[in-house]
Amino acid sequence: MAATHDTSALAGPGAAPARRPIRLFRNLSSKIAALPMILVATVIFVGCTLWTVVHSFTSSRLLPRLDWAGLDQYERLWSTPKWYVSIGNLAVFGLLSMVFTLLIGFVLAALLDRKVRGEDVFRTIILYPFALSFIVTGLVWQWILNPELGIQAVVRSLGWTGFTFDPLYDADIVIYGILIAALWQGTGLIMCIMLAGLRGVDEEIWKAAKVDGIPTWKTYTHVIIPMMRPVFVTSLVLIASSIVKVYDLVVAQTGGGPGGASEVPAKYVMDAMFGAQNLGQGFAASTMMLLSVAIILIPWAYLEFGGKKRG
């Protein structure tokens, strides 16, 4: 067992590589296969983001041009009342839609997980709105919530003449009118994910909890939900990404009204870019949006993907 450290001598002539292969070419198939993803991540997402950020410091109007304007667009942005309304709405809408989507999604999943007869039917009913676009969703709910046509009119025609329910035409509650539609469209998918998560919970856990005499609701809050962390993370990413991008729904449902009360940042960006033909302003607003997303996401992404390197 006298270890000869004469390793080069051990390798016979013509034997396979004794030298470490060049780093770049190792795992080559994988790198080639991932090339589209790498290009999308770098060229499209990073590249286009940089492009946007750069142009936010210009006075680009109809066409993107590099006419430097310093921080003008940002000063303008932060002195525009509509922008404040937009971010205020996004905060309220975002928080409520996150809380309610998770809550409703989870509760519905928990209900369906209780060995419900006709689960397939219920699940399909809850999920189908996801197949419809935001534009369609906005349109239908605009109609149902229209005081002259929808719920208010029907309730009034039943005799409750004093009944008022016109969220889309009341500036104070319009954002809730949009929330109703957003929840209708989005909870199905989250419910499905939650249901899948619940199905992944070991039956033994339930038995153990039952043996220990823990009430059902407490089992959910103290045992099941903590176990479903990855499910909640995935759900949150999905919900949050659609909240930040919410635009079509608002346009279809209220067009930002009444009186600009349901403006959202994505709509501010579109209005600035294509309505006001002030691309620079739109890019400044979207840079602010990206910045806040990055501030929230990068620490998370670091924790989620940076920490564990085990392959």
Binding site: A11, R20, R26
Partner: protein, 362 residues
């Protein structure tokens, strides 16, 4: 200067994940036709080492030779190895035949040759009737047999086993263990076998490498490992019930612990001359002489029984020596009760003495 009788050589193998060192400059030589067991508790790096040999993990540093060939950067399939996994890892969508032929087809072997090899492997493993079933239709034992067959058909130089029996129940495990041993006897291939089960290790191995924290603590035959453990960890790890340890002092041929003093005459020191120092004396429960055998032992004493664990084939007796619990393995038919005073005998030649600080064998 090829060294033909070395099947697998590992030189300074190091593997780190970020700041964590999983394998540390590890050296290991495995003989041609040898059955080597990598033994250790979970996280000791034994599976990692096996994966490195298989080429499934790339080492940070160091080299691996199989049959004299530097395979450090070769693909797993180019190394002449076959591997059997704990979870069987059978391809669920393929039949048994499909599973067996997958690797051969990848190597572009002619169909006739594939058929012949499958037939041979099926005969050896007695699974001719299973060839057209899907894995889902097989029992755990049958699945593992297919998994072994998959390595077998490829006619490899080295078999790698990664805890292949851990998912099976006790009875099946014992059966399959014998089968693997028989397989090794018949095939005479080099086999490297990872397990945390010392019974598997002792029964199967030509040599055992005990690993801990990415290092090989001791490499030796089961007999060496059992009788002359290189350090306290190995001594403690091997043997069930585990070895008794007495803390004390070694002074000029005598071990003292409290008012106990044991003359170490007959103990073969690892080094001829050692200085006095704090030491630990290890005595296996089965090496404590009781009953009629006491008289033959060089050292005699008497203990009071605390607790008795009858196990059928033998009886484990708990007592106190030098103020610490002390296990004694007696014959299954021995009739003792707590409170009994029983005579015991010790043989220093069968004991192990360790440095208290380094815990290395003295």
């Amino acid at each position: 200067m090829l060294v033909p009788n070395h099947s697998v050589r590992i030189r300074d193998l190091t593997l780190t994940f970020g700041a964590v060192t999983v394998l540390e400059a590890l050296n290991l030589d495995i003989h041609e036709g040898e059955f080597l067991v990598l033994l250790g508790s979970s996280g000791c790096g034994k599976s990692t080492l096996l994966n490195c040999i298989a080429g499934l993990l790339e080492p940070t540093d160091g080299q691996i030779f199989i049959k004299g060939r530097n395979v450090t950067w070769l693909e797993p399939s180019e190394r002449g190895i076959g591997m059997v996994f704990q979870s069987y890892a059978l391809y669920p969508q393929m039949t048994v035949r499909g599973n067996l032929s997958f690797g051969l087809k990848n190597a572009r072997m002619p169909q006739a040759e594939i058929d012949a090899r499958i037939a041979k492997a099926a005969r050896i493993l007695q699974m001719e009737s299973l060839l057209d079933r899907k894995p889902a239709a097989l029992s755990g034992g049958q699945r593992q047999r297919v998994a072994i067959g998959r390595a077998l058909v490829r006619d490899v130089d080295v078999f790698l086993f990664d805890e292949p029996l851990s998912n099976l129940d006790a009875k099946l495990r014992a059966d399959l263990r014998v089968e693997i041993k028989r397989l090794h006897q018949n095939l005479d291939n080099t086999m490297i076998y990872v397990t945390h089960d010392q019974v598997e290790a002792m029964t199967l191995a030509d040599r055992i490498a005990i690993m801990r924290a990415g290092k090989v603590l001791q490499l030796g035959t089961p007999d060496e490992i059992y009788n002359r453990p290189q350090n306290k960890y190995v001594a403690d790890f091997i043997g069930s019930p585990s070895m008794n340890f007495l803390d004390g002092h070694y002074e000029r041929g005598t071990f003292r612990s409290g008012d106990l003093s044991i003359s170490m005459d007959g103990y073969k020191l690892a080094m001829p001359q050692i200085a006095d120092r704090p030491a630990i004396l290890g005595i296996r429960p089965e090496h404590v002489a009781t009953g009629a055998l006491v008289a033959a032992a060089p050292i005699h004493g008497e203990v009071v029984v605390d607790l008795v664990e009858p196990m059928g084939s033998d009886t484990l007796v708990w007592a106190q020596v030098a103020g610490k619990p002390f296990r004694i393995r007696m014959d299954g038919q021995a009739r003792v009760a707590p409170g009994d005073r029983i005579p015991i005998g010790l043989d220093p030649a069968k004991a192990s003495l360790f440095d208290a600080k380094t815990e290395e064998r003295l």
